[in-house]
């Protein structure tokens, strides 16, 4: 066990050493704990965002609904979007990435463990900061893409919270992106070439680059908005030489890569889950990897398809129509390859598999409705109606959320050491997919019947009534399915089936180590010889391609020395010095705390702003001077 080193002259206070209890969680730099923190926090936000949706759906179940005022409704739809995007889908993906990335590449942690913790605390505090607006004068109410000039005109502090809150959250994601890029490029186990990485790791790499380049763009836009609202500048005010469309360009230059940031991790998850349960390799691995990179790259060239009605002119509209159609091609490649993965397999219909297959099915629909958006003259009818709301929920809920649930069911045993109950899980899946289609299928119809989006009420006699009622019923069905999931999680926490290291007979190396993994992950960093290396350690294929299990000391011994196959021998350095792990630290939390304080300072009191920055400075200073690992913190192998 680590003992606290005697106080040295270069630290402000003694290093935390707790391994259990809530203090351990507050000071952890262990990627596994941080992943769990991300997962728990984002799930709470998922429920909150879902409740906001249920309130809206209750309001819209009938014409002239009167459950909430127009003012409250506008806050609800704005915060629902902001919550689901920035506080649910992105961090839930980050939760899984955090837990699994080092395990999947054979590393003991990420490149910058303290910055990893910092990212989490900034996310939590940024989310709380954004939500504090509800009780401090009203939340943001200009829509999640907050168009100018309305974003400046809206009274109160709501849209200023929007600007500051998203800037704070952006810092969390940016730090995470840098962390994951450095980790993936530098810390893979020996023998793990890029083309032997799991697709989930590839997608993490691609998403991290997207974040790296996209977040500064919205940072600029939000910064300019903050100046417009607080200091009287006129970046988006035509009366003073500004342009409302500047906001739209900046926003969507971020916003379109953002939607790929949200979907690619889920696509990565599906690319892991389908092969595992079909018991065959991913179909067309290079194509799926390249398609993912192509989508990310081309995603920079389609942003103005969110602006087809803004009046950019036929040349610009045509160019973006073509680029948008083009991006459907690599997307189709992935869908066909996932079907090809299932084809010819011996498919076990576990809950994780059902969610992954459900992802593919729902994404086909969302992808096709997206293609119809590229038909510019008809997009002029579809845009800003419920048709678009239908499309976006098919890709973000039917896509991202379903994919994330597939990941949760698949990796739950690895993370928590217990399996979720399969029968309850299947109930969750069927309730959710039925409720989901009941909710968002009718949205396409409503859009084509002429119902515009972001309205707190609609008049009777427009033909909207029936489908709105159906959608509301669907929404409550989804809510019921989430309750089922929560029951599953709670019931199995104590009494669930204990998980072995590899309950699914899976393919990738995170399944080599115990469930849950020890703090140091791998006793011995494995040497990688194949894609799906774990599968190849378990099975050897005959000339016909049929796998058969490797018997200990059997044929595979020709390929690999037995001590390596059994992952039993430490490297020379580790034998001599033990495994070095990063030590816990206060400074990520301390530094993070300064950011929302600075935010409140911008809103209310310049002294607070100074205090916030001072805290950040102190935290960063302490962080820099503190060594990543204490010498006394090493564990013997």
């Amino acid at each position: 066990m680590a003992t606290a080193a005697a106080g040295t002259d270069r630290r402000y206070f003694a290093r935390p050493t707790a391994k259990t209890g809530w203090w351990a969680w507050m000071t952890t730099v262990d990627h596994k704990k941080i992943g769990i923190l991300y997962g728990f926090t984002s799930f709470v936000f998922f429920i909150i965002g879902g409740i906001q949706a249920l309130i809206m759906r209750s309001q819209l179940a009938t014409p002239d609904g009167e459950i909430v005022s127009a003012a409250m409704y506008n806050q609800l739809f704005t915060m629902h979007g902001l919550t689901m995007i920035f506080l649910v889908v992105m961090p839930m993906g980050t939760a899984l990435i955090n837990f699994l990335l080092p395990l999947m590449i054979g590393a003991r942690d990420v490149a910058f463990p303290r910055m990893n913790a910092f990212s989490y605390w900034v996310f939590l505090l940024g989310g709380l900061f954004l939500y504090s607006s509800f009780i401090l004068g009203g939340a943001a109410d200009g829509g999640w893409f907050g168009y100018a000039p309305l974003n400046r005109e809206l009274p109160g502090n709501g849209m200023t919270y929007y600007s500051l809150g998203l800037q704070i959250l952006g810092i969390a994601s940016l730090a995470g992106a840098v962390n994951f890029i450095v980790t993936i490029l530098n810390m893979r186990a020996p023998g793990m070439t890029l083309m032997r990485m799991p697709v989930f790791v590839w997608m993490t790499l691609v998403v991290s680059f997207l974040l790296l380049f996209a977040l500064p763009v919205i940072g600029v836009a939000l910064w300019q908005l903050m100046f417009d609202r607080l200091f009287g500048t006129s970046f988006y005010d035509p009366g003073a030489g500004g342009d409302p469309l500047l906001w739209q360009h900046l926003f969507w230059l971020f916003g379109h890569p953002e939607v790929y940031i949200m979907i690619l991790p889920a696509m990565g998850i599906v690319s892991e889950v389908l092969p595992a349960f079909a018991r065959k390799p991913l179909f067309g691995y290079p194509a799926i990897v390249f398609a993912g990179a192509a989508i990310a790259f081309m995603g920079w060239g389609v942003w103005a398809h969110h602006m087809f009605a803004a009046g950019l002119g036929p040349v610009a509209n045509s160019a973006f129509a073509l680029s948008t159609m083009l991006i459907a091609v690599p997307t189709g490649v992935k869908i066909f390859n996932w079907i090809g993965t299932i084809w010819g397999g011996a498919v076990r219909l576990t809950t994780a598999f059902l969610f992954a297959a459900g992802f593919v099915s729902m994404f086909i629909i969302g992808g096709l409705s997206g293609v119809t958006h590229a038909i510019v003259p008809h997009d002029a009818q579809q845009t800003d109606t419920y048709y678009v709301v239908g499309h976006l929920h098919y890709v973000l809920f039917g896509g991202s959320i379903f994919g994330l649930f597939a990941g949760l069911y698949y990796w739950w045993p690895k993370i928590f050491g217990r399996l979720l109950n399969e029968r309850i899980g299947k109930l969750h899946f069927w309730l959710m997919i039925i409720g989901f289609n009941l909710t968002f299928g009718p949205f396409h119809v409503l859009g084509l019947l002429g119902m515009q989006r972001r309205i707190y009420r609609y008049a009777p006699g427009l033909g909207f009534d029936l489908w709105n009622l159906v959608a509301t019923i669907g929404a409550f069905t989804i809510a019921l399915s989430i309750v089922v999931f929560l029951v599953n999680a709670v019931v199995t926490a104590r009494r669930g089936e204990q998980a072995s290291a590899d309950p699914w007979d899976a393919r990738t190396i995170e399944w080599m180590i115990p469930s849950p993994p020890p703090e140091h992950n791998f006793d011995v960093v494995p040497v990688i010889r194949h894609r799906d290396d774990w599968w190849h350690r378990k099975y050897i294929t005959d000339p016909k391609g049929t796998p058969s299990p490797v018997i200990a000391g059997g044929a595979d011994a020709r390929e690999m020395p037995p001590e390596e196959r059994d992952n039993a021998t430490a490297s020379e350095d580790e034998q001599a010095h033990g495994i070095h792990l990063p030590s816990p630290s206060y400074y990520p939390l301390v530094t993070a705390v300064g950011l929302p304080i600075a935010g409140y300072g911008v809103l209310y009191q310049p002294l607070l702003l100074a205090a916030g920055f001072l805290i950040v400075l102190v935290g960063a200073f302490g962080w820099v001077l503190e060594p990543p690992a204490e010498p006394a913190g090493a564990e013997a192998v």
Partner: protein, 350 residues
């Protein structure tokens, strides 16, 4: 048995798709804003592209979903079943990349053609020019060549291309009459344009489509298409100034309208005329709110929110922001008597 399941499954999917398609159409009278019931040239062109694309999308949907469902059912694990270990099929992958690209290219050609077609300004002597301005939360229409200014109800002659220029004033809005044309945004600092043309006489309902604040949901509009003769009649009527009010209550209302209240009941000494214009009423030259010269000729007011009748006008004048959240028209604390007089006067504005 498995093949039968998949074929039956496929048939169900097709039937479902057709049913959904049928359900989506509906009757125009029940669905006055239906995109699927085009009644004008621009909407029809968009609809043509939709029919092409949607048909292809349905086919792709059926085929790909069928392949997915089939693969899950057909290849599920059974005792003795071994998974076939293949990692790809280069030829299949290339084919499945090229075919969607070709389909998209086929859709792209008419799409680009229609984009340019709809962007072309109509020319000719019979083109009617209308300037639209979207404001929170109503629509201003100006017929520059006919010297008519009105609000919320846009009257046009059938069979005539109307060149609509669209301007901003405060925040973004979007001018949308689904049965006649796709939308174009209202962007302050820019002028956008669309061509509007209705085939048949009738009333076509529309809405603001770009979120613009508290009453975004309450910013409807109507396009009323007339036979040419009917349109001429309407124009002639709109070009007339308002009559001087006959009875004394209405005259009192007219006075209140321009001068406000003698005992300062109106906020800040303002009067209705500060924001509203009425041709023929001296002093009523405000340009902030809708032109009220022919208020009674409009079936609704407050951008389609209320039928134009006495009861609604009374309720409106009593407290506009309470009736329409975020309304730019303030509650000036009118007394019952003042409301009586104003409503009487407004009733004369035919």
């Amino acid at each position: 048995m498995n093949l039968q399941t998949s074929r039956r499954g496929r048939a169900w999917v097709v039937a479902l798709a057709v049913a959904i398609g049928l359900l989506m159409t509906g009757c125009a009278s029940d669905t006055p804003q239906s995109v699927l019931e085009p009644a004008g040239d621009s909407a029809r062109k968009a609809d043509g592209l939709w029919n092409l694309t949607f048909s292809i999308a349905i086919v792709v949907f059926v085929l790909v979903q069928a392949a997915l469902v089939y693969s899950v059912i057909r290849y599920r694990a059974r005792p003795g079943r071994e998974a076939r270990q293949f990692e790809g099929n280069a030829r299949l992958e290339v084919i499945l990349t090229v075919i969607p690209a070709l389909i998209l290219a086929a859709i792209a050609v008419p799409t680009v053609g229609t984009i340019f077609d709809l962007a072309t300004e109509p020319t000719g002597d019979d083109v009617l020019q209308v300037n639209v301005q979207g404001r929170q939360y109503w629509w201003l229409y100006e017929y520059p060549d006919l010297d008519v200014v009105t609000a919320n109800e846009l009257h046009i002659p059938v069979g005539t291309p109307v060149n609509v220029t669209i301007e901003g004033y405060d925040v973004n809005h979007s001018f949308w009459v689904p049965r006649l044309a796709g939308t174009q945004d209202v962007v302050p600092g820019r002028v956008n344009r669309m061509t509007l043309e209705a085939d048949e006489p009738g009333t076509y309902r529309g809405q603001c489509k770009e979120f613009c604040g508290l009453s975004h949901a309450n910013m409807a509009l109507r396009v009323v298409a007339h036979e040419p003769a009917g349109f001429e009649t309407w124009i002639a009527q709109q070009q007339q100034p308002a009559d001087k009010p006959g009875d004394s209550l209405a005259a009192e209302g007219a006075d209140l309208f321009v001068n406000g209240s003698a005992d300062g009941q109106f906020a800040d000494g303002a009067a209705c005329a500060t924001c509203h214009a009425i041709e023929g009423l001296e002093g009523a030259v405000g340009v902030i709110g809708p032109n009220l010269t022919h208020l009674q000729s409009r079936k609704t007011f407050a951008a389609g929110l209320f039928k134009t009748n006495e009861a609604n006008l009374r309720a409106w004048l009593a407290d506009p922001p309470a009736r329409k959240p975020g309304s730019q028209m303030p509650d000036v604390g009118l007394t019952e008597g003042q409301i009586d007089a104003l409503v009487a006067y407004l009733g004369t504005l035919k």
